[in-house]
Amino acid sequence: MNDAASKKSLLEALLFAWEDPLQIEKIASILEISAEDADALIEELAKEFQREDRGIRLYRQEEGVQLGTKPEAASYVEKLFSRETAGSLSNAALETLAIIAYKQPVTRAEIEDIRGVNSDRVLENLLQRKLIKAAGRKDSPGKPVLFATTPEFLQYFGLENVDELPPLKKETK
């Protein structure tokens, strides 16, 4: 086994062992290679996982890389988990998240202004799920709390970073 092949297998072992997304710098330092080499290794491993006869995929996120099942296997893997694990966000939650994602950091009043409804409970919910966080206070009367999205938000929607979001459709048609 050549060096690159053995490093790749080590990378696979690391990703299998680690539950959370693993940062590229960390991989590089553990395997004693440069960040660029680690990046190339990840790319290679990811390609291998793309093969049809593999059930695992390598997913890249802002926080790092992580192993996960392939989407096509969902209907089977699902059976392992209890029913409530498959729940989705409510419309109100999605709407509020969208406003925060694009306008962050943003105050509750600004969110409510756009939605036209009280958003206390939905914000509470999103905070509890760690999809948003309080990110300081606005320098205006009352010093309202500002909300921003979290790394968990990116992970939940499978986004690498906030810049990846498609532009808002603000034009009239």
Partner: protein
């Protein structure tokens, strides 16, 4: 044969407005306020018919739309049109352009929410190696179904019966009267009690009801009296009960001072 009617549930007034505009399938800028107001009110009426609770924001929007509509009926330069309305609590929408701009803004985020929903769906097909919690979400999607052809009437009358029984059986809603504590009165009370005793007492003994309002008022009163050096407060050991004692000497001097100070401190009523 009965069939099911699904009444969409809107998160808020802007979602309803956006949906109404969308159904017209016309350019958003050619939307007529009169038309949209009528449709909006129709929907609220429908909700009422189904005995659905109408959130306050929907009514506020109805009022806002009606104000907008009536304002547009007035000639542009008439005196009434110029008068600045306070319209407190209403949405600050004063022209049809503003209304449309708000709907467009809402639409942008609504579309973004749809995008997030799609991503969520895709993402939920992936099970990460992690045992992490992000997969544990509650099902909160809401949809309301209604049955027609007699079913609805039966349902409504059954519901009414239940409500009727509940209302007559249960007590009237009861609200505790708001207790009023006055800082000045509380200070006087403390001084009066302390000068009767002429010795240290537990701060706790100043409390009667132990309601949060009373505790807060008493606490502020004691702080204030300490600041004015009229009482002394201490603990015999760490975290021990708080003792309070009057300072008689300071009190005699205080009398004179208070005499020429003239204006009494302002007291806030809680």
């Amino acid at each position: 044969m009965s069939y099911v009617v699904k009444l969409p549930v809107y998160e808020g007034p802007f979602e309803l407005l956006y949906d109404l505009v969308r159904k017209q399938e016309i350019d958003i800028w050619s939307v007529s306020v009169t038309e949209i107001t009528a449709q909006y009110l129709d929907y609220l009426r429908l909700m009422e018919e189904f005995n659905l609770e109408i959130a306050g924001e929907f009514l506020v929007m109805a009022a806002t739309l009606l104000r907008l509509k009536s304002r547009m009926l007035l000639p542009a330069n008439s005196e009434a049109a110029v008068v600045e309305e306070t319209g407190e609590g209403l949405f600050s929408i004063h022209s049809s352009e503003e209304l449309i701009r708000r709907i467009i803004e809402y639409r942008a985020f609504k579309l973004a929410a749809n995008y997030f929903q799609k991503r969520e769906e895709e993402q939920q097909k992936i099970f990460f190696r992690s045992t992490g919690d992000p997969k544990i979400m509650y099902v909160t999607r809401q949809e309301t179904f209604f049955f027609r052809e007699g079913m609805l009437e039966k349902l409504v009358s059954a519901m009414k019966g239940i409500m009727q029984r509940k209302l007559t059986r249960e007590k009237e809603p009861h609200i505790e009267p708001m207790e009023e504590y006055n800082l000045l009165e509380r200070k006087n009370l403390i001084i009066r009690r302390l000068s009767q005793r002429q010795k240290a007492v537990y701060l706790d003994s100043m409390l009667e009801t132990r309601s949060p309002a009373e505790i807060v008022t008493t606490f502020i009163a004691v702080l204030d009296l300490t600041l004015q050096k009229k009482v002394r407060v201490w603990q015999q050991y760490n975290l021990g009960p708080i003792l309070i004692e009057i300072i008689p000497s300071a009190f005699k001097v205080g009398k004179k001072e208070e005499g020429n100070a003239g204006n009494k401190e302002r007291e806030t009523h809680e």
